[in-house]
Amino acid sequence: MKTPIPNKAGKAHWRSVEELRDSPSLDRIAELESPQGAREFELAQIGATRRGFLGGGLASLGAVAALSGCNVVEMARKPKEKIVPYGNRPEDLVPGRPLHFATAASVGGQVLGMLVESQDGRPTKVEGNPDHPASRGATDVFAQATVAQLYDDDRSRTPRQAGRDASWQSWDAFAGKHFADLRAAGGAGLALLCEQIPSPTWLRLVGELRTAFPGAKVYTHDLAHDAHAAAGAALVGLTGKRAVSDLTRARVIAALDSDFLGTENERTRLSMEFADGRRLVDGRTESNRLYVVEPSFSITGAMADNRLRLPASKVGAFLGAVAAKVFSSGVQAPAGADAVVAKLAGGDADPRWVDALARDLVAHRGASVVLVGYRQPPEVHALAWLLNAALDAVGATVKVEPRAEVPGAGSLEDLAKAIGAGEVKTLLMVGGNPAWDAPADLGFGALMAKVGTTIHVSYYADETSARATWHVPRSHFMEAWGDVTAPDGTAAIQQPLIAPLFDTRSEIETLSGIIAPERGAGYDLVRATWAARPDFADRWDNWVEAGVIEGAPAAAVAAVAGSTPAAAPPAVPAFDWSGLASSWPGASASGGSGDLEVVFALDPSVLDGRFANLGWLQELPDPLTKLTWDNAALLSPATARRLGVGNSQGISIGSKADVVKIEVDGRSLAIPVFVAPGTADDVVVLPLGYGREQGGRTAAGAGFNAYGLRSTKAPWFATGASLAQIKGSYLLASTQDHGRMEPREGWKSRPIVREATLEEYGKEPTFVEKGEVMEASHIKSLWEDPNETGGLQWGMTIDLSTCTGCGACSVACQAENNIMVVGKDRVMNGREISWIRLDRYFTGSEDDPEAVVQPLGCAHCATAPCEGVCPVGATIHSPEGLNDMAYNRCIGTRYCANNCPFKVRRFNFFAFARETDEARPLSVLQRNPDVTVRFRGVMEKCTYCVQRINQAKVAAHVRGKDKVQDGAVATACEQVCPTRAIVFGDLNDPESRVAKLKKEPRNYGVFAELNLQARTTFLAKVRNPNPELA
């Protein structure tokens, strides 16, 4: 509109038209139009000639007139940069209002249906798809972090050949020729090694590959895959089948070395069903009972009603003893299983435990379930099938479903053998990182060198890519079309939300290009898969929109996967127990000998290492040890004492740990030790996934690589290990060093997490009152209580009985609220920024403790201690009961944080956001535009997701309502919670869930004696231990 006028007479500044008296025409125009506005009009930047002004300025004056009443001075100072508004706004797009797209993917071994929020085209936040049975609206820590992975600056951006960047043209040229030659040779020497991709299209393409390259062999390798469970099912005649547990009907759950709430497959759905079975609300006084037998302390163990610490090598024998007891107590063995039953023996397992567990399982026949974890060998899984079948669980609490897996695929050991025999000339690796995470005795990195051509398709140019001839970058699931099948058979379309950020291709596109170079687009490939369904043409759009494919999915999947479509399988399949009879007791099912047992564990933060480059997850404290940015050799206190090693105890976040050398079978690892109460004695737990060599900038330097100790013989636990202290020490960052509610030994426990057994709760439903430090009638205020009763009054309850402490809330909050990662050094300095954290307290003896977790964000106290002490009024109370933070007003005295009894306020000690922006420019794209990015020197904390509240209020007002319907606002932590432990809503609405929960007898406020009147209250924890084991 305005063009700079050439300045001929020097820069002349003038403020009003009066200064240009010699211009009658201008006077007239000014009078006619808007003299007041014109007088204020400042044109400091515009050049001087009158004629020029008339030429360029008249239009401006017209605009001024039209806008009289606006601050014209400001208007004139707007930058002269042209913007182009939408001439035709895309349909459904309201600028500033996010859209949600349904998609689904396999994340960390678990298939989830998701709704991904898209802000102006940028995916920013993952929510669970309520219609998808695997997520039911919830997700897990890994799914929450996938948006961070999408915008990970370290992701691979281009194909690489022999370690150097190459172009897609060169890849296409190479692949075209190479695979054409191979095809001509009948595919001999081609091996495909892939991670588990439960995608019908992928399976279809693998089938096509086998057809096109008849000599090709397919192998799978995936640490997050339940390979032992699959082998266990095969042992009992259920090859290609899986057990899908239905915990909604389970009254007794025996988890044997199974972290089904944490790192196992289907954790999200199982968490929800487990929680539903013990939700003590609305007068319910029944709860399921969870027995956990495990070597390391997992969140499942923390949730256990009865927990037995047992080395992993003894779990099989323990289950054998339980089975023996079950069958000796009159339970009929299934037909053909007598040979197995005859081999079962009591062994040296704790008889009290065996008796009690067996009795409880039998007593709840048909409503009990035995779960066995990924660590246990196949025969233990097979034995669990036997028990479940004998106890009528199969068909009730355990369903049998087909596995969406490549049929007849070999294992990594098979591949290693083939390479060793010189049978593999071309190795195509899709996903995974075998050069890094393969059992050490395979020497897979070295084996790769024996193969003529190695190709690695992956997100990152990682350890395997570095050794491969070719690295082919892989698209993120939010960038690519695909489809996934959940364990229960539900299929869903993986819908992309954004074009690939880098020049990448999805794994199906790459594989399809190898089979037939002329085909390519992922969209067509996926549609081609589903075109087999008769309702495809009608329903495709609905499938994509809803994120779930309705109908009989299993049959459809079977059809497209090229296997025989089965009729609805019988509820109780035909077992064949002969395999189990011959293999029981397996070598590892019996208790191993040896001094020390090493147990490998998938890490709750980085799993097998695939998430190691995500700062959100590195900084997410381990649920039990609270370690961030590192793994360590976890030892029970007794074992640590016996071995004379340990880490500094005290109240400091940074803990100085002894470094030890662990030796197994001639292989060794130097790693710091961390004393983790609850670990089985004589066991060293080594979380996997750390110590990445080429994992990206974030992963670099985080932790120690425990893969070097794994072998094919003992992939998950190994006995006969030795441990010796070596020189040096290492600083570990555990965010919670004082792990008990007693401030000091001999002092009374503080009533922070209140807990009772189901029996006690039944006798005294109001047991929480016993925890009060001060009687309610004694709590008096000097002032009138804040009168917050009108309109909407927000509040939250957190049910400690169902909260598993998985940490999903913490990561979800991070994704929603633009919370920065600060790094290990700063975590050690106590500067981590988590708005909702999970406090973990051990109860009971140090040697055999229980653990409770408590999610804690700002409690939004009605009489908030933080508000009064702020000298500038930067934190104030809203009429709706929120404790608001005006970041822009905060000058950073930090008094509020000092005075907060919950210590939930977090300070920006440095310019964390700016540092992140500079180091990781792409991460900016993930930011939620509705939440202020906090700058250096200001305090921040949980807002109850005020941006979501406001969106819901606007939506309600648009519909002419003052009230927000219950459930219309879900805070990020509430929405993600797989156990629905967190409930948020309007306390003023007597019908709201939260208002009802606040009336529960278990409801209590932490530090109520301080008269905080906190809006977040807790429902006390109730465990249901077996009285026989008391």
Partner: protein
């Protein structure tokens, strides 16, 4: 003019029939002026080194503050439960020190404690410099220094207003009012001496500057009358401030609800501690100064002894407060408070606690012995302990309470960084730079006031007839 020569022995002899002389040696009015003005005329060999060392430390402070503003308060050792560390400890430490000056000038003035005249000027100067150091810490400790003006009630276009419920805001007013009144009080007392300096100045610039600040003082009767009234009024105004400032500083802690902070004993306990630390610092400064600048006749052992007695009194009061805190923590039955105090003494910071107890409670007990409290070297050593102890008192209060408060999950150990240390050491640079400039350019003893307590000031004084004791009886001034 012949004068009686008093000695230390005369002064320390406790007599019922007369008061001890306040000025020793054979000084008369002229020699007192010369004695005080000598350091300004000839600063001696020690001044430049002392000044340069102080200036270097001030430079350290400058670097520490500049880096702080550039990087953020994260350069300090603060962590999540301990959001106030050395900066606030130093603030309270310096404010406390800033109490002795005004106490000496105002309260002792109102109580007609004539011995104050020998030390009040230097003590008041010390107060001002300590308050300057103190004010610097809350200024730099905020996260966004450039917005600190938001704590002042300045009408602004943002319609933002400070929160008058916050003790930090009370601090802003309490300390700035205290600083202002102390400055006025000090300056008012300086006027006659500045005129003296003007009259004896040799250089034209010095004459002009002293003359400017002397506000045209000619020593007329009217001037003296106005001066005396103004001084008395300011003494009256200052007296409540001496008590209020540290009371309000203690509210920073007491008004919060952190166990270990939330105690009603804080106001009197803080005031006693402040006076204790203030006198400790006055002793630290004046014991060497009286030797270096040849002021032994004016700042006598009797002065030192009196201050030692005040230290004994206030140190014991502080010790009582420590004991009472423990008693109340137990007696209240409040589990958080009882743990907080138990943990202070036996927890991770017990080393700091016992340092504090040794320095603040045990070390002043030596002053029960006259021999010890009249030994300047010994008193000097104890005064250093008092300074250390009172710094640790604030450290113990601020840090141990925060490090282990209500929620055990959030506890964390606080350790300072090099930048915490640099800003603390650096603040001594600011303090001593100001103090060395003060002794270089301003009479460090109130010349005019000292003269009023000399025998010669008595209208009935007859130097020739005066016997050693009789003269003192006549000169006892306000002892009626």
């Amino acid at each position: 003019m012949a004068t009686t020569v008093y000695t230390e022995a005369d002064q320390l002899e406790e007599r019922l029939d007369q008061r001890a002389p306040l000025v020793l040696g054979g000084n008369d009015f002229h020699s007192v002026t010369e004695l005080v003005a000598r350091p300004i005329d000839r600063p001696g060999n020690m001044w430049w080194p002392a000044f340069l060392v102080s200036l270097t430390l001030l430079g350290v402070y400058g670097v520490a503050v500049a880096y702080l503003v550039w990087e953020g308060v994260g350069i300090w050792g603060l962590n999540n439960p301990v959001d106030w560390g050395w900066a606030i400890v130093n603030f309270v430490f310096w404010v406390g020190i800033g109490h002795a000056g005004t106490l000496i000038s105002a309260i002792l003035f109102l109580f007609r404690q004539k011995w104050r005249t020998g030390i009040n000027r230097a003590a008041e100067a010390m107060t001002l410099f300590a308050v300057a150091c103190a004010l610097s810490f809350p200024t730099i400790h905020v996260g966004r220094v450039w917005l600190l003006y938001w704590v002042f009630p300045i009408p602004n276009q943002m319609a933002a207003w400070p929160n008058f419920r916050s003790p930090l805001l009370w601090d802003v007013f309490a300390v700035s009012i205290y600083g202002t009144v102390s400055l006025l009080f000090w300056y008012t007392g300086l006027i006659p001496d500045l005129a003296t300096m003007r009259d004896r100045a040799k250089g034209a610039l010095a004459r002009k500057l002293y003359g400017f600040f002397a506000l045209g003082w000619r020593g007329s009767q009217r001037h003296w009358q106005n001066y005396e009234s103004a001084y008395l009024i300011l003494a009256g105004v200052s007296t409540p401030l001496v008590l209020s400032v540290h009371t309000i500083v203690s509210f920073d802690f007491a008004v919060s609800q952190i166990p270990g902070w939330h105690t009603t004993i804080f106001p009197p306990y803080f005031v006693a501690g402040a006076i204790f630390s203030g006198f400790g610092m006055v002793l630290t400064l004046l014991i060497p100064s009286r030797i270096i600048f040849g002021l032994k006749d004016l700042i006598t052992v009797r002065h030192i002894e009196n201050m030692a007695k005040i230290c004994l009194l206030t140190g014991t009061m502080v010790g009582y407060a420590y004991a009472m805190e423990f008693f109340i923590a137990w007696y209240s039955g409040n589990p958080y408070e009882s743990f907080a105090f138990f943990n202070r003494a036996f927890g991770p910071y017990s080393w700091a606690y016992w340092t504090m107890i040794s320095c603040n409670v045990i070390s002043p007990q030596f002053f029960w012995f006259k021999k010890l409290r009249t030994n300047p070297l010994f008193v000097f050593i104890i005064s250093i302990f008092i300074n250390i102890g009172m710094w640790f008192e604030r450290f113990v209060i601020a840090v141990t309470s925060l490090a282990t408060d209500f929620l055990p999950s959030s506890w964390d150990y606080y350790s300072p960084t090099i930048w915490d240390v640099a800003s603390f050491i650096g603040s001594f640079g600011l303090f001593f730079t100001l103090f060395t400039l003060f002794v270089r350019f301003v009479p460090m003893v109130a010349i005019a006031e000292v003269k009023t307590v000399m025998p010669q000031a008595d209208p009935h004084h007859h130097p020739a007839a005066a016997s050693k004791h009789g003269a003192t009886v006549a000169a006892r001034g306000g002892a009626h």
